[in-house]
């Protein structure tokens, strides 16, 4: 299964390919033209995307970009002003056993502080006819068995986060939504969530996880849905996202940087040559081998020749800062 998925991911180049694969699978989240306004504020603007099964799909956007609103619309909690979103082809409220199909961690602190962790989970389990044995199972899975009978009000944020994850896992659902699951977790907790998400996806489940931490998504997600100001900026894979949004840059250091720059410009490969902030030359449009050849021909010594990889964080910052620019004036808020 995992190997098959990896092949799928590797082949999933364009958005068209992605949707073809998604259509083959049984459980997907499908959003079409979702829009949501709160008063004059546009939270989500004509958002369409798909979440494929068996993968971790990262839902990225800066704070306030509409991620939580979108999650609430998927769960049938907020009503879209336009568009629709379905889980496995049906709107959320049409699912006969919602907890057995979709598990969600939306707000970690959303538990009555006076209730014990176990009673909280039992009350949720009962709504979907889930046996109490399963409650103890998920408590064990998230490591809260020893505090199962403690009042939730005494829990730390990390313990609350684990309880929220336990409630999402309760129905053994095929589809899981996590809104900022690593918020407030210590490094150990972050690692635990990271591994849990991967393990759940490896079991063939559909994982949709939001974050404003791009570096975190680079470690856990395969697919990416990126939004800024409520609009879709990218619906792609992590690998595709990085390569299509950055030019390959090569850092070159040489005692004769002025002459090398002239030579590279004369060689005319359609790229650019500029001075790096920390010294050296940053060259685009030419591979390290080509640069080395030019230097050799000109008889220039090279002290460093290294390809630079943009991190997901850098790519994301660049993308969303553009989105912010585009949507800077209120008049530009129309559907495009």
């Amino acid at each position: 299964m995992a190997a098959d998925l990896a092949a799928t991911v590797g082949a999933g180049g364009s958005a068209g390919t992605v949707s073809t694969h998604a259509a083959c699978r049984s459980r997907v989240i499908q959003a079409v033209g979702l829009s949501k306004h709160y008063g004059r504020t546009t939270a989500v603007d004509d958002l369409s995307f798909e979440v494929r099964s068996g993968l971790v799909t990262g839902f990225l956007g800066p704070n306030g970009s509409g991620k939580s609103t979108t999650m609430r619309m998927i769960m049938g909690l907020d009503r879209p002003d336009a568009g629709s979103v379905t889980v496995d082809g049906r709107p959320f409220h049409a699912l006969p056993w919602p907890l057995r199909e979709v598990g969600a961690l939306l707000e970690a602190r959303a538990v009555h502080p006076g209730r014990s962790a176990r009673n909280h989970l039992v009350s949720l389990a009962q709504t979907n006819a889930i046996p109490k044995a399963r409650v103890d199972e998920v408590l064990d899975q998230v490591g809260l068995t020893s505090v199962a009978h403690k009042r939730v009000g005494k829990f730390s944020l990390g313990m609350n986060q684990r309880l929220g994850i336990a409630s999402a896992l309760l129905g053994d659902p095929e589809v899981l939504l996590f809104d900022e699951p690593i918020n407030g977790l210590d490094p150990e907790g972050i690692l635990w969530v990271r591994n849990l998400l991967k393990a759940l996806a490896a079991e063939g489940r559909t994982i949709f996880v939001s974050s404003h931490l791009m570096s975190e998504m680079a470690l856990t997600a395969t697919d990416l849905v990126v939004i800024g100001r409520g609009r879709l900026l990218a619906d792609t894979t992590v690998a595709e996202f990085i390569s299509s949004n950055t030019e390959a840059t090569v850092l070159v250091r040489s005692p004769e940087e002025g002459r090398l720059a002239d030579a590279l410009t004369r060689a005319g490969r359609g790229g650019s040559v500029r001075r790096g902030e920390a010294g050296g030359l940053l060259v685009t449009g030419a591979s390290p081998a080509e640069i080395g050849d030019v230097a050799h021909t000109e008889g220039i010594a090279l002290h460093e020749l290294s390809p630079q990889h943009a991190s997901l964080e850098e790519v994301f910052m660049e993308l969303t800062s553009e989105a912010v620019d585009y949507h800077g004036s209120p008049s530009a808020g129309s559907v495009g």
Partner: protein, 296 residues
């Protein structure tokens, strides 16, 4: 990774409906301390105030004139705790809803049971059932405790079929039996009054979605509204007065087989109960309509 002891596939027949939500809401209600504290206050206030007030009134009997004796109401004395309990059930009814809005867990609830009217119905039925059982038990216990206190002061049970008027010239304090005209009805309706009030506060909870807002609105209707009506010109106030929820409660609990200064001011007990039921239905329906319409 996960070894399931039991399976619960999403293809099972049936759905997450009302019966299961009732179980869940029952778990929620009994798993927080505030419920138990509220219920204990209702029982203690009911029985305790019945004993206290009956004791005080028993001591006054000898010094009362004939007119005052005609208004002596041993049933009403035994239900004095109702005045405190109405606020307790109000807080309980509001909290069942607003504690979920306060913590955000209403979204967890609605994500497990997306049919919102099912959630409201389950919550309301569990609340009403819990309040009804406790307030009825308290009302009847208070009645018997109150009559026992009067008997201990040399009270004498009214002969069957007679009213308090036949005993105004006697030195013996009148004591009601539960089978006396109006007694069982008044005691029973005390529990009904409190149960309906808890549902009014419950409805306010869904309308306002805020603990302080729901409770203060509830207290406003019970305490502040009568004060406002009082300062109105009597031509306006008099026809309104009997419709006030607090006066509906009075009408339901008072034994009106006698001529009193309430006669004509209050509705008949069953009419008052029906009117309060109407108010409750309106508030809960408004809450249900808003719950279905609004974002959670």
């Amino acid at each position: 990774m996960t070894v399931l002891e039991t399976s619960f596939p999403s293809t099972d027949p049936g759905r997450a409906g009302l019966r299961l939500s009732l179980l869940s809401e029952w778990t929620k209600v009994r798993s927080v301390r505030s419920t138990w504290i509220s219920l204990i206050v209702i029982v203690v206030a009911g029985v305790g105030l019945s004993a206290l007030v009956s004791n005080v009134e028993a001591g006054r009997w000898a010094s009362l004139g004939v007119v005052d004796r005609a208004q002596f109401d041993p049933v009403r004395f035994s239900q004095t705790g109702e005045f405190i309990s109405q606020f307790v059930v109000g807080v309980l009814g509001a909290l069942v809803v607003t504690s979920e809005y306060g913590t955000g867990s209403i979204r967890t609830t609605l994500a497990t049971v997306p049919r919102r009217t099912t959630v409201l119905a389950a919550k309301g039925m569990v609340l009403a059932a819990v309040v009804f059982v406790v307030t009825e038990v308290t009302a009847f216990a208070s009645f018997f405790v109150g009559q026992a206190v009067l008997s201990a002061h040399g009270g004498r049970t009214l002969p069957a079929g007679s009213t308090i008027v036949t005993q105004v010239t006697s030195s013996a304090i009148p004591v009601f039996g539960i089978t006396h005209a109006g007694a069982a009805r008044a005691v029973f309706l005390c529990g009904v009054y409190l149960s309906l009030l808890s549902l009014v506060a419950f409805g306010f909870g869904f309308v306002l979605r805020h603990t302080a807002g729901a409770i203060s609105s509830f207290v406003g209707v019970l305490l502040v509204l009568p004060l406002i009506v009082q300062v109105l010109p009597s031509g306006i106030a008099d026809p309104i007065e009997k419709y006030l929820p607090s006066n509906l409660g009075l009408a339901m609990i008072v034994v009106t087989t006698r001529k009193t200064d309430f006669a004509g001011v209050l509705m008949t007990p069953w009419m008052a109960a029906a009117t309060l039921l109407g108010y409750t239905a309106v508030v809960v329906a408004l809450g249900a309509w808003l719950l279905a319409r609004r974002d959670a």
